[in-house]
């Protein structure tokens, strides 16, 4: 069980591909910083490999004006939830 942190926009699709190669069935993906844009419905293809096991950091989505625009299957977590995810998952890996 692994938590993957991602901070780049879907423009970096080579990065999303590399992450998908390492992503396991029990893993979770947290979108932070510019990766929030991957949670827009138009970017759904960039998250297809992660099968709904995706959250987005609410404060980063909010500052970007994205609240209310996000895909339904991406969960919102606040900074406390970010910390909680890192506590729940024994390992974290940051992709950038």
């Amino acid at each position: 069980m692994m938590l993957h942190l991602l901070n780049r926009s879907p423009q970096f699709d080579g990065l999303y591909w590399d992450l998908s190669e390492a992503f396991g069935a029990d893993d979770h993906l947290l979108l932070i910083e510019d990766a929030c844009y991957a949670a827009l419905p138009a970017a759904a293809a960039s998250l297809a490999a992660f099968g709904g096991r995706v959250s987005v950091l609410s404060e980063d989505a909010e500052s970007r004006g994205l609240l209310g625009r996000l895909s339904d299957d991406v969960a919102l977590v606040d900074m406390a939830g970010f910390v909680a995810l890192t506590a729940t998952f024994p390992h974290s890996l940051s992709w950038f």
Partner: protein, 133 residues
């Protein structure tokens, strides 16, 4: 918010400006956009005619409803809201960049002119000075 949503027609002449700034980076995640707009504002304050072209993730800078981030990260929306005060009124957006991100001019905080690839190429080639951020 739009006074002109139409794409630039193929035969519309494009007047050269003193400076075109192309903005390709998304806001908030880095300071590229902010420091690019700073150059535009300073050039305008020096009396130059300045235009902005939003390409790629740069179009996200125009999304309506942005705010300062936690810890007071300023973002760029407040800066962009000042453009008119600096007489920077020519704002162009790559139509393909907007489409690819599922956005329309109605999602944007400022009126812009959409450019298809042909018009975008003509715009860039009409300018004596272009910087990219």
């Amino acid at each position: 918010m739009q006074d002109d949503e139409a794409a630039l027609a193929a035969d519309t002449p494009i007047a050269p400006l003193d400076l075109l700034v192309i903005l390709r980076h998304p806001p908030h995640g880095s300071s590229w956009l902010r420091e690019g707009v700073d150059v535009a504002l300073v050039a305008a304050a020096f009396g130059q005619s300045v235009g902005l072209l939003f390409q790629g993730d740069g179009v996200f800078a125009l999304v309506e409803g942005q705010r300062a981030g936690p810890l007071g990260q300023k973002g760029t929306h407040a800066q962009l809201a000042m453009l008119e005060m600096y007489d920077i009124e020519r704002l162009w957006v790559s139509a393909s960049a907007l489409r690819a991100r599922g956005l329309t001019p109605a999602d944007l905080m400022l009126p812009v002119q959409l450019l298809e690839a042909d018009a975008l190429e003509r715009l860039v080639h009409a300018q004596p000075h272009t910087l990219l951020f």
